[in-house]
Symmetry: C2
Subunit: 161 residues, 2 copies
């Protein structure tokens, strides 16, 4: 079954990052970075009740990502890893997810913080962040466990350009 799945952006994410190089690789390295989401007017009514959540999950299309390799050297490592064990942007379906802090909603504009994507990224969906729902208490993070202390200081270089 190889049927195509077709989506349309519901909005645009605006940030201060205009180049892949220098864009934070994860929200943890983007603490405080302010951004703005413009949700297209057609979808504004869906934003009701969202302002009471402090954090939201953004699902977006990594529109600058071209092609993919099934093994990549991630930002935090020096050896090749299987693509699905990384969050590298070049993926068969270049979908990104970020949990960001919601500051304010005014009509169709959301003010957010801790955003780690490039300006102009097309937004696909917004979901409330409710970690209770995931029910994870203990977990292992594979090859990344040696690199967690580096997480807060890493910004993108040009390897996925």
């Amino acid at each position: 079954m190889e049927s195509k799945i077709i989506y349309n952006a519901i909005g645009t994410i605006h940030t201060n990052y205009h180049d892949i190089e220098g864009t934070p690789i994860q929200p943890s390295s983007a603490q405080g970075s302010k951004g703005e989401i413009e949700v297209f007017k057609d979808f504004e009514d869906g934003l009701k009740d969202l302002e009471c959540f402090s954090h939201i999950i953004l699902i977006y299309h990594l529109h600058l990502s071209k092609g993919f390799s099934l093994e990549v050297i991630p930002f935090l490592d020096t050896v090749k890893r299987g693509l699905f064990s990384t969050r590298a942007p070049r993926r068969p379906n270049p979908i990104g997810i970020s949990v960001v802090k919601l500051i304010k909603i005014k009509n169709n504009i959301l003010e957010i913080e801790n955003i780690d994507v490039i300006d102009g990224t097309p937004l696909l969906d917004i979901k409330p962040f409710v970690s209770e729902m995931d029910g994870i208490t203990d977990y292992k993070i594979g090859w990344l466990s040696e690199h967690t202390s580096d997480l807060h200081s890493h910004f993108s270089d040009n390897r996925f350009k």
Copy 2:
């Protein structure tokens, strides 16, 4: 800018849930539910290094979801809420995300637990679950805060059929 975004499934999620009615609404109500992910052979090499992670994030297409309303009565509530403040399946772009427990990988087949989707759901992406990356320490969950004690006992009814 209304350009279409086109994705193709990279695999299929197999579960014991064959009907929308009775399918858990969140992983927390799906504790222990076993499932299997078949990643298509073309993408098998991307699974390398993934087995060292205890939990993974699945991104999938809610293929049975038809249409959407911008206000819905969520499973856990009795009043209408803005769609984006809920995880209701009928969305402008019907994308679902779940954090599941990874038990084992054999070739292109992943054995998973705590899965809350219907059998045959098309898989779009797999990412490692690394909560450090999100860096969230305290948060508010809006209208849901009155309903967290109900989360573990809720299964889908027929409202999104």
